[in-house]
């Protein structure tokens, strides 16, 4: 069955990424480790040799151990769900992920939902009403957001709304003085802190969804069954939703997975700018502080997530489009 084939490809890709990650990170040029040791020497005043020993120990890197067994150990660990250890935070990466992932998922899914929904509606309206003032506005807006990198959008939002107007905070996922609980206070502060990151993603992506939907809807509107629906005296509202809408949305579904992947990639920058403690923020920390264990674990997580998202989108598409379902 095709599902199995796709699952197989997904797993092979994941395996490939795992191997790649392992060898890239393991083959860190010696001087990276040396630099690190140097830092430790400078901070703690111990000898270089001792520092190197510490680095290697924390890094679980035994140069005498054959690469193959290192690799096997690594893969076995992954198969058990162990993402590794963070040297910086001196805890397992899994624990950090447990803390950070919910925030990232929260912000990303909210943003994706918002930008997809608003964009789709706009796109359908533009396609439906053939000449409207909305069209050049959206096209112009799309050009502007296409040219502006997502982090600049984020910076501008930060500058205007957080720093200057002080309407929103400049860091954190919630106000630290509020205890995390299922209380209205907590929910309020969570939402308050999430507004700017979500706004950054949404401003950046809505226009391209609108244009994608417009293109899809315009080609659907040219199909015979739309004209035939009108001939049958169907209500315009029904034609717009059940006839145009459902068909126009199909090609965009795979775009959702790609968008999700892109957003995960962009989360490093957006979360860093807003000091929002999600996966991206921790990834940046790991990179800046040379925490290779954390970097590796989070990278694997990101890769696995995007591979999985693509797999789901593929399945979703075949499930939604009856024409494809039966071709397998």
């Amino acid at each position: 069955m095709a599902i199995l084939k796709r699952l197989g490809i997904a797993l092979i890709t994941l395996f490939f990424v795992t191997t790649l990650t392992f060898f890239v990170v393991r083959n860190t040029p010696g001087d990276a480790l040396q630099e690190w040791a140097l830092e430790i020497v400078q901070t703690y005043g111990i000898s270089m040799e001792d520092a190197m020993k510490q680095v290697r120990a924390m890094y679980a890197y035994n140069p005498d151990e054959p690469v193959v067994s290192q690799y096997i150990r690594y893969v076995k660990g992954l198969a058990h769900g162990d993402l590794g250890t963070s040297i910086l935070y001196k805890t397992s990466v899994n624990k950090i992920v447990a803390r950070a992932l919910p925030w990232t998922v929260f912000v990303l899914s909210t943003s994706l939902l918002l930008s997809f929904t608003i964009g789709s509606i706009l796109g359908m309206v533009i396609a439906w009403k053939r000449k409207t003032v909305l069209d050049p506005i959206i096209t112009g807006y799309a050009a502007l957001t296409g040219a502006t990198p997502d982090y600049i959008t984020a910076l501008i939002l930060l500058m205007i709304f957080a720093i200057n107007l002080k309407w929103f905070p400049t860091k954190g996922a919630y106000d630290p003085s509020v205890k995390p609980a299922l209380s209205w206070d907590f929910i309020k502060t969570v939402l308050h802190h999430a507004v700017l990151p979500v706004a950054a993603y949404t401003f950046e992506n809505t226009a391209s969804w609108a244009l994608a939907m417009k293109g899809s809807a315009v080609s659907v509107l040219g199909e015979d069954y739309i004209m035939a629906a009108r001939a049958r005296g169907l209500k315009e509202s029904r034609i717009m939703t059940r006839y145009m809408g459902r068909n126009a949305m199909l090609p965009l579904v795979t775009g959702l997975a790609i968008a999700f992947g892109g957003m995960m990639g962009g989360s490093v920058l957006i979360e860093t700018i807003f000091n929002y403690p999600g996966i991206g923020w921790f990834f940046n920390e790991a990179v800046n502080r040379r925490d290779y264990g954390l970097m590796q674990g989070l990278f694997f997580l990101t890769a696995a997530a995007t591979i999985f998202a693509n797999f789901v989108a593929d399945i979703l598409y075949t499930w939604l489009d009856p024409r494809i379902r039966l071709e397998d």
Binding site: I9, I12, T28, A32, A143, M159, N164, L269, T272, F299
Partner: protein, 294 residues
Amino acid sequence: MTTATVPAPRRFDLLYQTYRVLRRNKRALAGFLILAGFLLMAAIGPYVVPLDMTAHYEQRYLPPSLAHPLGTDYVGRDTFALIVHGSRDVLSIAFFAAVFTVGIALTVGMLSGLQGGMLDALLMLLTNTVLTIPKFPVMLVFATIFHVKDPVSLAIILSVWAWGGLARAVRSQILSLKEREFIEAARVMGLSLGHIIIKELLPNIMPYVAINFLYIMKDAITASVGLMLLGVIPFSASNWGMMLNLAIKQAGAIYIPQGIYYATAPMVAIILFQLGALFFAHGLDEVLNPRLRS
């Protein structure tokens, strides 16, 4: 060996078509002028506009004036001069990154398309991986591990995960061209594979590649500035990305009201360049794909 020429599809005179597009499409023309402006800025700007790197603390974060059209930075250096001098780095990084990306994409795409079989399957698996995994984290990892010292090494890092889309497109173009008669005819005539590639296949995909070159440059700038923003790549303070990095650091320009000019100058420069690239590339795209002409 016969001297008869094989009738190939009408060769695309890219320059002439570009000229026609620029005449008709105002936005493409605007884009072209913007790009040309930046190119000029990068080429001769540093000679025309002097950059005084000495620190004048008393002149920090001055508002725009005749002497300093964009104000000054956190140690009193002229922002405009910084932008001008930074443009050279920014554009050359983008250019090299695009060159490498296109090189890899063409190689992979053509190998895949022409060879087919196991190699094709393998290369496509690789391409899919590259396309699925988001490239910014990858570039971050590479940037951390392999020390970046100059524009070329940065360009390599930028290109290593960027070639996926173009490779796939090149492959499908090759696949469709492969079946066409003029390729068959060339084969029958005993023309070598190299000849077929260079004289027959490449000219047909070059216009498409040229347009994507612009898009790739645009992406490379976005990525490189993003990397610099995070402080992963040590670069001279005049590089736009570096300027942004310095602006968002503690007590950086974005937190200081007077610093707004310094903070926004590189942003505007980046957005302007990207817009130029987009408009111009869209215009060229219309030439390649006439159905876009509404």
